[in-house]
Amino acid sequence: MAIRSFFVPFLLLVLWFYSSLSPVLSLYEDQVGLMDWHQQYIGKVKQAVFSTQKTGRRRVIVSTEENVIASLDLRHGEIFWRHLLGSNDVIDGIDIGLGKYVITLSSGGSILRSWNLPDGQMVWESFLQGPKHSKSLLLLPTNLKIEKDNVIVVFSNDRLHAVSCIDGEVLWKKDFETESFETQQVIQPPGSDLIYVVGFAASSQFEMYQINARNGELLKHESAIFSSGFLRELSLVSSETVVALDSTGSILLTISFQNGEISFQQTPISNIVEDSSGPAVIIPSSVPGIFAIKINSVTIFIRVIGKGKLEVVEKLNQETAVSNALPISESQQAFALVQHAGSEIHLVAKLAHDWDANLLKESIKMDQQRGIPHKVFINNYIRTDRSHGFRLLIVMEDHSLLLLQQGAIVWSREDGLASIIDVTASELPVERDGVSVAKVEHNLFEWLKGHMLKLKGTLMLASPEDVAAIQSMRLKSSEKSKMARDHNGFRKLLIVLTRAGKLFALHTGDGHIVWSHLLHKSEACQSPVGLNLYQWQVPHHHALDENPSVLVISRCGPSSDAPGVLSFVDTYTGKELNSLSLDHAVVQVIPLPHTDSTEQRLHLLIDSDKHAHLYPKTSEALGIFKREFSNIYWYSVEDHNSIIKGHALKCKCTGEVADEFCFDARDLWSVVFPSESEKITATVTRKLNEMVHTQAKVMADQDVMYKYISRNLLFVATVAPKGSGEIGSVTPEESWLVAYLIDIVTGRILYRVTHHGAQGPVHAVFSENWVVYHFFNLRAHRYEMSVIEIYDQSRADNKDVWKLVLGKHNLTSRISLFSRPEVITKSQSYFFTHSVKAIAVTSTAKGITSKQLLIGTIGDQVLALDKRFLDPRRSVNPTQAEKEEGIIPLTDSLPIIPQSYVTHALRVEGLRGIITVPAKLESTTLVFAHGVDLFFTQLAPSRTYDSLTEDFSYALLLITIVALVAAIFVTWRLSERKELQDKWR
């Protein structure tokens, strides 16, 4: 009896366990935001237009370098709406028309769109064609009307268009006949029906067209020649005067074209500026009567007085940004200047015609890590006392966006995070005794209240308000954002490098910025360009008292042979520990699998002359390196001429200066792809820190296959040069894709397969002994995904059980790649619905957990696809044993299960990369997807088999235990009594 009564609940438990093992990994609605976070950004603002009408909410419309147009709330900086245009649809200009439409000109001036201001719905779109590519200019005259229709004037593709603001219809268009005419400005003097188009033809000819704005009729065409030529930049000082520089940058030219007559006025810069040296540049601005030039780093404001006479009004030594002019009344125009001075920025707003009077003069403390101001946009409002107040929108060097008003920062946005170029993860500090829980839980009452609520929730007594309170408590759990390591390794720091050269540390718990650091400029390097991030020091065994640090590789300038800069940044504090300005370029960085006694990883930096430089430059590192000297190789992929070369280190550098950390290299091997038929399109290797648990793969029939696991394996995909363009630009016969597996130590090609009728782009991921790649199949008109698994045949005869039991085998001894490997490969292809932006694979601490592919789809979502679907051993009718092994019957296409979208309902706009970081808990991996948006979540590809899930019912467990104990007591008493009765009988 007793056994049976125990058996029933046990069976139920087992049933529950099985039912929870369903293969779909999805979230419940109330789990959203518990372990994941999503942040929306827009990128560096290029242009901003304010919309501050009395009715409706105040907002600012911005266009950014990430190709986003967005409407931001002026009060809080939140995004009202946002559109990300494609990467080939770059925004050239934005403006607001009729107070209710946002007009954007994009795609090299060929697409003009209108969006509804309040909700961002597209109203119309029109395509503007023209004879040739040219500068694109968008102009919205305020009071120019053609038949009660407001007009948008667009100059693009060397043609002038007038477009209706209501429906996007082209009212008229005008071509310019002059050969090599380069338009610089389109001017519409307010209150007139004229449009001036000015520009240069050849290098020394100034051209002016006067056009009737109503019908596009050419009224006048004048040209004048200035013998010493122009620099291609114009500054507009009035509606009929522009300022240009001659080709040497030393003479200012005031060009006026009043009444269609062009007249030049030359003013050498040295005449008005005493100590001017070096060529000047015009800073584009549109302040009437005033323009700005920059000589070296000095900004000079010059006023135009009367007949081409110039007068210097101010010289500013600091970095300065100038806004455009803002009309504040009938005759007055205001503009703003922002100067950077140490830890402060100075804001000045002035009237255009009165330099000496300041409308506004403020100093605001600014975080040093934001760098210098790059751009400023001005907007005004009427105070209660009818005076003008100003708000300024500032774009800083780190691409952040700030709104300043009344001497304070109203809001700021870290939009540099929209352009992440590299990511690495770092541990948090170990929890010390100093941090107590009491600090987090505000007081005992709050704590009690929280627990009462939770109890109510478990007992299902909670009202809807209580449920909401519990949910918000779960989301805001202080455990998540604690600044200390947790037992499961879920809390980490994500160190990201942005295009602006700023490092951010993001907390994985809730995504807040822990610290940020702008890469310093030094004497040697004025504009470092951040390239890559590497883990420099990861203390775990020794040197535990040292903080981990990252290595930032940057380059001094845009060219590939510019000298490199190394910065070492402490990941706990964000302080730059050291910065090295190198005297050589950095073309490749090779992290070596060796660390020194302080756990600093050895790195080999290859310069443009193929010398290898060892870092850190210590004798200890040199000692370690010398020991492994003959076993270190490197390879380079020259994708422009389709060659892969292998190199070995030879000897110390033979240069004038003896440098014992510099080594010469010799060429070892090269793989030359026939350039007329193959072009390298993708190369992938395994991740350096990937852990593999086992080298054996066990089949259903107890058979063993040994995986060919090598760190030195490169997957290369080449396509036909003809087929390297867009999909569909070639016929299937002309296009093919060849996939190679190459050993990068010896240059041996281990496998080669050709896909006929396939076309790139190829996205691939390499892990353990398999590689998965994605391409387009022109014959089937579908995307395809292929998998190659590679096995080591030379180990296959290790099958004697006794030898294995006694350890008499050489399966784990170190092997040399120069011994001839015998490999076999298995591969299979499947159709896949989506086109792909990025592919990654989950990685776990020990590599035991099964893998999932993380596919960044074209819809900017991340799809988790089990690796079991990409198993070359799949067959149409798997045997019973194979089914038990978990082999899925072969289908022609890979299934897309809607629940397996990792990003659930969210979108990571402009998805560029997916990074996986193993947590300490073997079942779990941390996933970070970045693009314009950031998204982070935890994934457990085989469910959390090593820990109880978050929704595990502890109450049920407790109740069961209590019930069992009670039952034991009762039955014990009963049996006692029964025994006694039996004895009396």
């Binding site: 992290p591 380079s636 992929v637 290797t685 040994y706 059980v801 784990t812 092997i815 040399s816």
Partner: protein, 179 residues
């Protein structure tokens, strides 16, 4: 068998023996009643009991053989159950296999106890015991065989290499497309 004892007075002692002497031959100092001859009854009784004992030992031996053969039925049933359970690893088959393993082991542990009631100087228990042990060992073998068919015994190479870490490589190479 209790003895009531009392102490009364200082010098006098007496005792009442409540023991029932009806069957056991009582002490000879009390005379038998008239017409009762003890010798004949005694002899009669011993022959009956000898016969009885013979029958009992026969019965015991028979029973012991029966008990010794009992695992055979069990074996058949187990075989049937195992056949029903199939060769896939799931809760049912594992349960059956483990009970098939556990039953013979526990039976073997309690060999002495099982044959305790049939212990007799005249009964030869070695044969039944050996049979019992053999049958249980057979059951155990069946269980092990089942375990093996389920793939739970490390008899394959795969069981020994499945946790071998990948071999280290002597050489190391890195690089890629220039940054």
């Amino acid at each position: 068998m209790e003895k009531g004892k009392g102490v009364m007075g200082s010098g006098q002692r007496w005792a009442v023996d409540f023991s029932d002497n009806s069957t056991a031959p009582s002490s000879r100092d009390i005379l038998d009643p008239l017409g009762f001859t003890r010798a004949s009854v005694d002899q009669d009784d011993s022959t009956v009991s000898r016969q009885k004992k013979d029958a009992e030992s026969n019965w015991k031996a028979q029973k012991a053989w029966e008990v010794a053969q009992a695992p055979f039925k069990n074996l058949l049933m187990m075989g049937f159950m195992m056949w029903m359970a199939g060769n896939t690893v799931h809760l049912f088959s594992i349960g059956i296999t483990f009970s098939a393993l556990w039953q013979p082991i526990s039976a073997l542990q309690g060999v002495g106890k099982v044959f305790e009631p049939y212990k007799d100087s005249k009964v030869e228990l070695l044969g039944p015991k050996l049979l019992f042990i053999a049958l249980n060992l057979g059951g155990l073998a069946l269980g092990v065989w089942k375990l093996n068919t389920l793939g739970l015994l490390p008899t394959h190479a795969s069981d020994w290499v499945s946790s071998l870490p990948p071999a280290q490589e002597v050489e190391y190479s890195g690089g890629g497309i220039p940054i």
